[in-house]
């Protein structure tokens, strides 16, 4: 059976190094299989977070040959065979052990977002026309690969000021929901730091669910921020028209 070398990060927050493991490669094998082989045969103490092995739980995120990916969806036969396959933990989050990182910051950010708030007297029948657009945002599996690759978090470490693409997807799903009555546009601008995003689209490139994060979530939200804070004509028009039901409920 063919063999390949996996060069895996071993260590924790205090430091570490890349260690080589020789792994047999079977047809259809994915990187997570190779990591399981290492756990089973070579290094039982190797820490790897995983769950469904079907690309739906979002647990096995890591960086394979420098690219943020789900290890369960990265086939070994797609990777170059002539050099070791480097597997690193996600760079943007604190390391716990080996390939496991502490992603709890994301859950703290999530708490800042007001959940779905139905408009008073909303008719609970929703037209398919209105469902179609927000459906895309529900595909998110919270693998946090978009958060990991976003340079605002990865290189500039703006975790205090910037929520990251995953949460812009969540806000987009709520803001564009036909029955939602809350206004999160001010929150987006001030607390979630939407303006820090310079739309370089890395989040879209790595999304394993192929959500068009930048074009369908972030840019439409940026345009909503413009409506509310930077466009004098829209602001004037809104003043003349009077307050809308949705804005009345803005928290």
């Amino acid at each position: 059976m063919a063999e390949t070398v996996l060069r895996v990060f071993r260590g924790d927050a205090s430091g570490g190094a890349l260690t080589d493991y020789k792994v047999p490669v079977a047809p259809g094998m994915v990187v997570l299989d190779a990591l399981h082989y290492i756990q089973g045969h070579l290094a039982p103490d190797l820490a790897v977070r995983w769950n469904c092995k079907a690309g739906k739980c979002g647990s096995c995120s890591a960086e394979v040959n420098g690219r943020p990916r789900l290890t369960c969806k990265t086939r070994m036969d797609e990777l170059p065979k002539d050099e070791p396959i480097v597997v690193m933990p996600m760079k943007s989050f604190p390391k716990i052990k080996d390939l496991v990182t502490d992603v709890s910051w994301n859950y703290r950010v999530n708490k800042k977002i007001p959940p779905f708030q139905p408009r008073p007297g909303a008719d609970w029948k929703i037209s398919q026309l209105d469902v179609d657009r927000v459906q895309e945002f529900r595909k998110c599996i919270e693998c946090f690969l978009c958060q990991n690759v976003c340079h605002v978090l990865r290189d500039h470490d703006k975790k205090e000021q910037f929520a990251g693409p995953r949460f812009f997807v969540r806000v987009a799903g709520l803001e564009m929901h036909p029955l939602d009555g809350a206004n999160r546009v001010g929150l987006l601008k001030d607390e979630l730091g939407l303006g820090f995003c310079n739309i370089t689209k890395c989040c879209t490139e790595v999304c394993p669910e192929s959500i068009h994060i930048t074009d369908n979530a972030i840019i439409p939200l940026k345009e909503r921020v413009v409506d509310e804070f930077y466009d004098p004509l829209t602001m004037l028009f809104r003043k003349m028209r009077g307050p809308s039901e949705k804005r009345n409920q803005a928290g």
């Binding site: 190094a17 080589d20 949705k246």
Partner: protein, 252 residues
Amino acid sequence: MAGTPTPLPEAGLGATLRRDSWWTELVPVFILLGGFGVYATWRAFENAYYSWGPYLSPFYSPLIDPQHHWWPLSPALLVLAGPLGFRATCYYYRKAYYRAFFLDPPACAVGEPANRKYHGETAFPFILQNVHRYFFYLAIIFLVFLWHDAIKGFFFDGQFGIGVGSLILLLNIILLSIYTLSCHSLRHLAGGKLDCFSCVSFGTTRAAAWRGFSFLNERHMQFAWASLISVGSADLYIRLVASGLIRDLRIL
């Protein structure tokens, strides 16, 4: 079997474990966008060879005060801010130049220059990107003039005719129109800003418009490049003809 541990790679500009040639994406953007910037600036200041027969260079359209009654400099300088602002604040070009010129980031999961302060689009000058929709409104006005120029390009001394220049100007305005119609701001204004299409007047129409503009918007990058090349080529062709370096070939 475990091998010898390898130290971790260094951080900093260009630091990455990516194996692909990530920089190949930057080079064409740098050359094309940079080259266009240099050429357009030179042409705007040149103040010559911008019209021939029925053709007018898109860099000089609409032509204002060509006789220099009140504006002593090149007429292109009076109009360039509109199209330039539209492209400079365009959501696609922002991605392209932030990556290629500001290396912010150079590519996904590739290190940036260390110790650089980052404000994104929250502070001057990049907070001005928020006025993109106003440049879109201006772009619509420019399109009207450029369509007029393209149609005029088919009339030689009052007679209908077709020259290579007529076709170049026509192709240019078609590409510029599609690029403008694929704009993210237009997609938002047309219907994207609504939360509930079925709850408002003309909601179905606006949903259809939003879907149509979304279809174009998915190809915004391609239209951005095609129209950039076409507008530069149209100007270059007119310059070559006007300066006598080549002759305009009449087809009809």
